[in-house]
Every structure is written in structure tokens, then in C-alpha cells.
């Protein structure tokens, strides 16, 4: 097709200095410069490729807790399956407890400054007390025949050297024996450890990262070889676990997997209650009562009990045990199966936990399953652990209890429900859709926070969600660039961890779902990603590509701006001009010629659009348009249109040209709301491609039947626009809280 407009050769002022050329900086450019090249392992569609493989690690463990001395002892036999096409000369095992060693390098990389004021306890802890003696003590590493294997420990990683390489498609078994001191996590920190109750002297244990774990070996990283510094969490292969856990006989315990010997560890009464819970779908059934927990809390049994668990296709294993535990459970119906929702909590957590925990677990499983896939594991457990919020397969620790006077504020109630939704939700990302947390916190935290937002809103449309709505990310994104880095930054390098890796990606996905793609296209693509990568190891590229591949919505501009940069959204109204229709040519348009086709020239007569600020505007034309006032038009209609055709013509009365500019670098659709003088409104949504030429400004013409009283951009705060001052015409002073408060 030939362009209708013919440009004259531009004549340049030859004195002007020539400008240099440039590379392509268009924000719609496809991301060949940023994404890894697709290959046989991972395809351009975002799906696992024909050569995709993943390793498997199976564990048989015997674990014993020494409650008196707060130590854990363990032996394990790991069977490692090398499904990769390569032979492996050595194996890497993660020793996360070593991050708590006295000589841990984690403390040496802190940026320290002298604190000018400290509490006495703080001073003692910092300068005088001996630090916690943590870290694994490895007693042996032996091969299947019992022969010691050579190993080297580098901080939180242990390399096991093999006499002969582990061939592709072969497996190897070896055993490790170890112990470590358990940390009081409320004093020494940590994602696991124990909470001590002064009142009755008991401990509540949340035990995780408690065994040497196989690192991931895959097609993008080789061996996952980044140390555990504290922020970047875990990358773990899937496998099957058989775990025997020995604890004092008066403890109540839960862990990842099916409990294989319930009859041996529950009383006959408790067993009956549990069987009732398996058939109860509407509310939790108390299996271990508060009275039973309080009675147990008064003693300290010297006898032992062994709890036996078996878990299939999980990437990790967690345990919680205490003699303080109340236990309740209910069944949850998913589309094709039923699973159990379970909570364990000390009496201090009631009445809050008895009422809300298990029901919240059940809601989470239903909501997340509906957006991804049916929860594949047999159960999900919520453990009450103060100051915590941490996830493992089928089990998680959550904060939130009444205060010491028994008062439950709304903040604690919602905080506790939110943390339960979040941590139970992590079963989907990253426990099942198993992204590499050590590299990319956002891949599980961001996606999970987005899912959490949907689950909260499905619980109640008035749920006070803290992350998800576009407007709530503005304080972060409008901040100084010194404190921002792109979402696509390594987990350890984030300055504002929660905002960067949780809130911003969650908000971005919410904007895609509600404003850019629409729910139908988004939900299908998101579900496709979850199903393609469940029980597998996806990368960021696999997510970005699937979202486009399954929706036919090009989102490279969005990933570039929202995930790979710290650009922010600021779109404004630059100028609004009202136009009047005239049959007389104003001076500035007098010489106009309108070309038609390639060769023909129109000589008139013309209808002229005269802007309200033009000097040539004739006062008599300053009125709403009526076709009968403009003879040229009236005659033209009379001559060329039949009666029927005339009746279908629209009758615009007012004409506006609105120019938009874009002080922010992040692209967004332009959402415009016109408010007419009678108070009615009309919404326009100009797709983001309106910026596709790399233009800084763009304008649109509106022909309306009613007079426009007000124009507003992004009236429902859907785009995280950081500056609302330029979002309205006529300029609207944003109501200042200071004025309201009499400042």
C-alpha cells in the first residue's frame, strides 16, 4: 500500500551540527538482547524442551531430637539419580546450618557501623557474649559399601569426590551422619530453630534445613554453587523421603509426608477424632485438645516415640514438634480429590488459631488450586511459631497470637491469616513449580504474593490486602533511584527486599491481569505456566515466554520496563484544545491543499477546524456544532446521503484534541475518563502500543455530544502512576492531607 501522505524532502540547515546515529532503544523491541537463547532443554514457547531433564534425590533418614540439650542427630542415605546427559565427577551437598557457624562468612560481609545507642542486652550480645555455636558437625560420609568418601566443605556447600564419575542415567547411594545445636530463633535468628516458653519451660521446635541436602544440577547453572548467605533461599531437586523421627513420648509432631504409624503415636481417642476429621469438610475437628496439650506441658517424658513419614516427589522436608501442641484438622474438597488441612498451635495461640488457622489453610488450597492445578500433596499444615513466616513442603510456620492480655487486634488477625495464606501458598511456588530461589527471589515470592492477593480478595472483597493493588507500589517506585534495583537482580543484592521481590512483581502481575491482558487471557497463560513447570525447574525466561506464548499478547515491553528496569509510570495530560467548526478558513490554514490518492489534489470547499486559542476564531463560530450551520456540510449530506443513511449519522457537538506526555519511562496504556457537564462519564482505553514509535507524546481527538467538563487519566489508579498532579484537566489540586489537618 502507498502512503497517502507524501513528504517533501526536508531541507536541513547545513550549519547545524550533525547528530550522531543511535542503536535501537525502542521499548517494544523484542528481548533477544536479554533472554537466553532457546534450546532443546527449554523452548522459545517457554515450555520444557524435548531434551529437558532433571535430577532426583531420594532420602532415607533417622532423626532424633534431644529436647533437653536442644540438639538434632541424624543419619541419612541419599540415592542420587543422574538423569543428565553428562557424567558427574563430584556431587555438591548443601549445608545450610553452617551459615550459623561461629566462623561463618555471612557475618563478615555485613556492613557495620558503630551504633550510637544500644540497650544493655544488645551491647552484651554484640560485644561480650559468646556467639551461638551453630553449624553441622559431620561425623562421616560413606559410600554404599561403608567406605569413607573424600569430601571438602566450603562454607555452606560440601563437595563429595567420586572415585569414578557418576555416569549419565546411573545412580549412586551414600550415607552421612551428623548433628548440630538447634538455635533459639527468637534470639539468634533463623528460618527454623525453637521458641522457648519461660512460663512452663517448654520448647516449640520448627526444624528445617536440618540435613545435608543435594544441590540442584541442571542445564542452566550446572551445579547450583552459590553459597547460602541468608537472603537467597533454596534450589533443591525432587525426590522421595522416608523419615523416622524420634522425640520425647509426650510430644505431638507433624512433618512433610504421610504419617505411616498413626496408630502407634496417637491415643485411641485421638485416632478416632482424626478419622472424623478426614470426613469433616465444614470445620476443623480438634484431634489433640487444649486440655491434653496443657497436661502434657506440665511433664517432661524420658520415654521416646518414633514418628514415621513417607513423602513422594517433594523437594525438601520439615518437622515441627512440641509437647505444647493442640492439633486440629479438616478435609478439603478439590476438583478431583480431597486433602487434609491441619494446624498445630500452643494454648497461647487460642482462641485465634482454633478459629482461623485450619479454615484459612483450606481456603488457600481451594483458591490456589483453582488458579493452577489441584494441590497434589495429601495435606497442608500450619504451625504457630511467633515471629515466623516460612515455608516447606506440606508444612509452614506462621506468626500471630493474641497478646499477653488475650487481646486480638484486627491487624494481628489479618496478619496471621495473610501469613498463613502466603506460606501455605508457597507449596505451589516454589515447592512444586520449583524455581531457583537462590538466584531469583521474585520467581516464588512475587508469584506467590500475587496468588496471595487473589486468595485474600476471594476470601472477602474488603480484605485489607497490603500488596497487589497498583496504587500501593507507588511509594516504592517513586523513591530515589539510589534505593532501587530491577526485579531481575540477584536475591542477595536487593536493598528493599519486600518491595522489590514481593510487592512489585505481584503488582505487575495484577496490572497485567486487570488492565493489560484481561482476566481470561491472563488466567489461561498463568495456569499454563504452572502446569508446564509443576515438579520441574523453571527460569525467568520460561515464565516470560509462556505468558506471551499462551496469550498472543506481546509483553516484551512490560518485562523490559517492570522487571528489567527501575522505570516508573508517569503519564500526564499535556494540553487540551477545544476546536470549533467553521466554513471560513482561518489564516494559518488558508493555503492548505489536501491530497487525495497519489496524484489528485482537492481544492475545496473545505470544513475548517479552528482551535479555541486561534486569533482567527470568529466569535460567532464559538458554539457547539450544528451541521445546519455549516452550509458546505449540510449541502454535502443532502446531496450524497439517502434519508436512511442520514438517520444513522452521529451528531457530535464538541471537538477536542488532547495531548498526552510521558515523563515516566515505564509504558502503560492510556486510561482516559471524560466527565461531561451533566456529570455522566465515558471511559477510553488506548492500548500501550500507542507509544510504539518511541514517541514521548501522543494526542487523541475526541468528538462528543456533550460538553466535556473534566478529563482524568487513570481514574481508578490501575497503572501505578507515581504523579497524579498531571492526571487531570482542568488541573485539579490533589487534596492535601496537610490542608485537611489544618497544616
Amino acid at each position: 500500500m502507498l502512503p497517502a501522505v507524501v513528504f517533501a524532502q526536508e531541507t536541513k540547515n547545513t550549519d547545524k551540527k550533525r547528530e550522531p546515529g543511535k542503536y535501537d532503544t525502542n521499548k517494544f523491541s523484542q528481548m533477544y538482547d536479554l533472554l537466553a537463547t532457546p534450546n532443546m532443554f527449554r523452548t522459545a514457547s517457554g515450555a520444557p524442551g524435548p531434551a529437558y531433564y532433571q535430577q532426583q534425590a531420594d532420602y532415607k533418614m533417622d532423626i532424633e531430637l534431644d529436647d533437653k540439650n536442644t540438639k538434632v542427630y541424624g543419619t541419612e542415605t541419599i540415592t542420587y539419580h543422574n538423569n543428565s546427559p553428562e557424567n558427574l565427577e563430584y556431587l555438591w551437598v548443601q549445608l545450610d546450618q553452617n551459615q550459623k557457624e561461629r566462623n561463618s562468612k555471612s557475618t563478615l560481609v555485613e556492613n557495620q557501623k558503630m551504633e550510637k545507642a544500644m540497650t544493655p542486652a544488645g551491647f552484651l550480645k554484640k560485644f561480650m557474649e559468646e556467639s551461638f555455636d551453630g553449624g553441622f558437625v559431620i561425623e562421616y560420609v560413606k559410600d554404599a559399601k561403608g567406605k569413607p568418601m573424600k569430601y571438602t566443605i566450603n562454607q555452606t556447600m560440601m563437595r563429595i569426590d567420586l572415585d569414578t564419575p557418576l555416569k549419565s542415567k546411573e545412580k549412586i547411594s551414600f550415607s552421612i551422619k551428623w548433628w548440630y545445636n538447634i538455635n533459639n530463633y527468637r534470639v539468634d535468628g533463623g528460618r527454623s530453630g525453637y521458641e522457648h516458653f519461660e512460663k512452663d519451660g517448654n520448647n516449640l521446635y520448627v526444624i528445617a534445613q536440618f540435613y545435608p541436602r543435594m544441590a540442584v544440577y541442571n542445564d542452566v547453572e550446572g551445579w547450583q554453587n552459590m553459597q547460602f548467605w541468608g537472603a537467597g533461599e533454596f534450589a533443591l531437586p525432587f525426590g522421595n523421603f522416608d523419615v523416622n523421627i524420634t522425640v520425647p513420648a509426650d510430644h505431638v509432631l507433624e512433618a512433610t509426608g504421610d504419617l505411616m504409624n498413626r496408630k502407634e503415636v496417637f491415643t485411641a481417642e485421638q485416632l478416632k477424632r482424626y478419622q472424623l476429621a478426614e470426613k469433616t469438610y465444614d470445620k476443623p475437628v480438634v484431634v489433640v485438645t487444649q486440655e491434653e496439650a496443657e497436661a502434657a506441658s506440665k511433664g517432661f517424658s524420658d520415654k521416646k516415640k518414633t514418628w514415621k513419614f513417607s513423602a513422594k516427589n517433594v523437594r525438601d522436608f520439615g518437622i515441627s514438634t512440641s509437647r505444647k501442641f493442640i492439633y486440629d484438622a479438616m478435609a478439603v474438597k478439590l476438583s478431583e480429590k480431597s486433602v487434609m488441612a491441619i494446624s498445630l498451635y500452643p494454648p497461647e495461640a487460642n482462641p485465634l488459631w482454633g478459629e482461623y488457622s485450619t479454615k484459612t489453610v483450606a481456603h488457600t488450597l481451594r483458591s490456589y488450586s483453582s488458579h493452577t492445578f489441584d494441590y497434589p500433596y495429601p495435606k497442608a499444615i500450619s504451625i504457630s511459631a511467633e515471629d515466623q513466616g516460612m515455608e516447606y513442603p506440606m508444612i509452614c510456620w506462621n506468626y500471630g497470637r493474641p497478646d499477653e492480655n488475650g487481646f486480638i487486634s484486627e491487624r494481628i488477625k489479618y496478619g496471621m491469616q495473610s501469613v498463613i495464606i502466603h506460606e501455605v501458598g508457597h507449596n505451589f511456588f516454589p515447592m512444586i513449580v520449583n524455581s531457583d530461589e537462590r538466584q531469583w527471589t521474585w520467581m516464588d515470592e512475587g508469584l506467590n504474593t500475587f496468588m496471595q492477593y487473589m486468595a485474600e480478595q476471594e476470601l472477602s472483597s474488603s480484605y485489607p490486602s497490603q500488596r497487589g493493588p497498583a496504587a500501593k507500589i507507588v511509594p516504592y517506585m517513586s523513591g530515589s533511584q539510589d534505593f532501587l534495583e530491577p526485579i531481575m537482580s540477584n536475591s542477595e543484592s536487593l536493598q528493599q527486599f519486600g518491595a522489590n521481590a514481593y510487592a512489585k512483581p505481584a503488582t505487575g502481575l495484577n496490572i497485567l491481569r486487570e488492565t493489560i491482558m484481561g482476566r481470561e487471557l491472563f488466567d489461561y497463560a498463568f495456569k499454563t505456566y504452572a502446569n508446564r513447570w509443576k515438579f520441574k525447574h523453571p527460569t525467568p525466561e520460561d515464565f516470560f515466554r509462556t505468558m506471551e506464548d499462551a496469550s498472543a499478547v506481546d509483553l516484551d515491553w512490560f518485562w523490559r520496563g517492570w522487571f528489567y528496569s527501575t522505570d516508573y509510570v508517569d503519564i500526564g495530560i499535556q494540553d487540551v484544545k477545544e476546536y470549533y467548526v467553521s466554513s471560513e478558513a482561518p489564516k494559518e490554514t488558508k493555503d492548505v491543499t489536501i491530497r487525495r490518492g497519489r496524484f489528485n489534489k482537492e481544492d475545496g470547499p473545505f470544513v475548517y477546524m479552528v482551535s479555541g486559542d486561534s486569533k482567527d476564531l470568529n466569535k460567532k463560530n464559538m458554539k457547539s456544532f450544528d451541521v445546519n450551520d455549516i452550509k458546505v456540510l449540510a449541502d454535502f449530506i443532502q446531496e450524497k446521503y439517502t434519508q436512511e443513511e442520514r438517520s444513522k449519522l452521529k451528531s457530535p457537538k464538541y471537538f477536542y484534541e488532547v495531548a498526552f506526555d510521558k515523563p515516566g519511562g515505564m509504558l502503560m496504556p492510556i486510561l482516559v475518563q471524560l466527565t461531561y457537564d451533566d456529570g455522566s462519564t465515558e471511559d477510553y482505553n488506548f492500548p500501550v502500543q500507542i507509544w510504539r514509535k518511541g514517541n514521548q507524546t501522543v494526542s487523541r481527538v475526541f468528538a462528543t455530544e456533550k460538553k466535556v467538563a473534566k478529563i482524568k487519566l487513570d481514574p481508578k489508579l490501575q497503572t501505578a502512576d507515581i504523579d497524579l498532579e498531571n492526571n487531570s484537566w482542568p488541573k485539579e489540586k490533589i487534596k492535601s492531607k496537610f490542608d485537611e489537618l489544618g497544616g
Binding site: 556492613n111 533463623g190 487481646f407 502466603h422 530515589s480 492531607k737 489537618l741
Partner: protein, 166 residues
């Protein structure tokens, strides 16, 4: 049970808290603007409400229940006393009075509004903010806008005071 978190290193906080869905990053975000029409400096501070609640409880030996149905009537007075001690600003080397106008609650954040009156011009600002530093390794980010000149400042327990020149 009382919280026993004392002065703890930043890394340690990361260790306890990173996987948590809650805030647990001890950072406040503050916006400071000079408004020439009012000859006033306006400051908006966003602080985590449970942290402030605990700070008031420790200082006044009394539960204030900020942002809950049981909030004490005189909570604003307690806050004012607390801020007076912890937050000060010099404009062009002169200590100025900071008026605490009021507060509102947004989710788990307490938004506080402050104003400094009778300011003809601002060539330099010295901000001292030790709010919550007695409890946590608290950091305060200040974004300032003085007649379009935008600058930022990070205050930490190692650097409680900072100067900006315009």
C-alpha cells in the same frame, strides 16, 4: 510474651525475616517537600505501626494499642512526645519546631504528617531521625523536594544525622 529483639545486625534480620510475607524490614519512608505558597515544609512519614506501638509501650510503660479498637485516646500526645525526642530538623543551621499534625493508618503502616512553618527559603537541611533505633537496626529514607531540587538521604544507627544542600 515480650519480644526480645534487641539491637540486631542487619544480616541477622535478613536471616529471620526474608521469607516472611510481612514487612520486617526496618525501613521508614519519608517525603519532605517545601511548599512556597504556604512557606512551609511538609513531611509525610510512613512507619510500621507495630514497631511504633512497641516503641511507645517501652518508653511509657503502657500499652497504647495504636491502630486498634483499643487505642488510647491520648495516643497522639504519646506520639508527639516520642517524636519530639527522636526527630529534629535544622533549616539553614537553625533548629525548627516540627508540628505533629496528625496520623492515619493504612494497613500496617502509620502515616504521620508534620509541618514546619514560616520558612522563607531552604538552602540546607539537617535531619536527625532516631525513631525506632532504640529497638531495631532501623533505617530512615528521606526523599526531599525543595523547589524541584530532589535529593535523598539515608539515616541509619551509624549515621543518625544527615545534611542536604540545595
Amino acid at each position: 510474651m515480650k519480644k526480645i529483639i534487641q539491637t540486631i545486625s542487619l544480616l541477622f534480620l535478613f536471616v529471620i525475616l526474608t521469607s516472611v510475607s510481612l514487612h520486617k524490614f526496618y525501613v521508614s519512608v519519608n517525603q519532605l517537600d517545601y511548599v512556597p505558597q504556604k512557606k512551609a515544609i511538609e513531611i509525610t512519614s510512613r512507619l510500621f505501626i507495630d514497631d511504633i506501638d512497641l516503641a511507645l509501650e517501652k518508653k511509657f510503660n503502657k500499652k497504647i494499642y495504636l491502630g486498634t479498637s483499643k487505642e488510647l485516646k491520648e495516643s497522639k500526645d504519646y506520639l508527639q512526645k516520642y517524636f519530639q525526642e527522636k526527630f529534629s530538623i535544622k533549616v539553614d543551621d537553625q533548629e525548627k519546631e516540627i508540628h505533629f499534625l496528625g496520623k492515619e493508618v493504612e494497613d500496617n503502616v502509620l502515616i504521620c504528617y508534620f509541618t514546619i512553618k514560616n520558612i522563607e527559603k531552604v538552602s540546607s537541611l539537617e535531619i536527625k531521625d532516631t525513631i525506632l533505633m532504640e529497638l531495631y537496626d532501623q533505617q530512615h529514607i528521606f526523599h526531599t523536594n525543595i523547589a524541584g531540587n530532589k535529593q535523598s538521604l539515608l539515616l541509619t544507627s551509624g549515621k543518625m544525622r544527615g545534611v542536604l544542600n540545595y
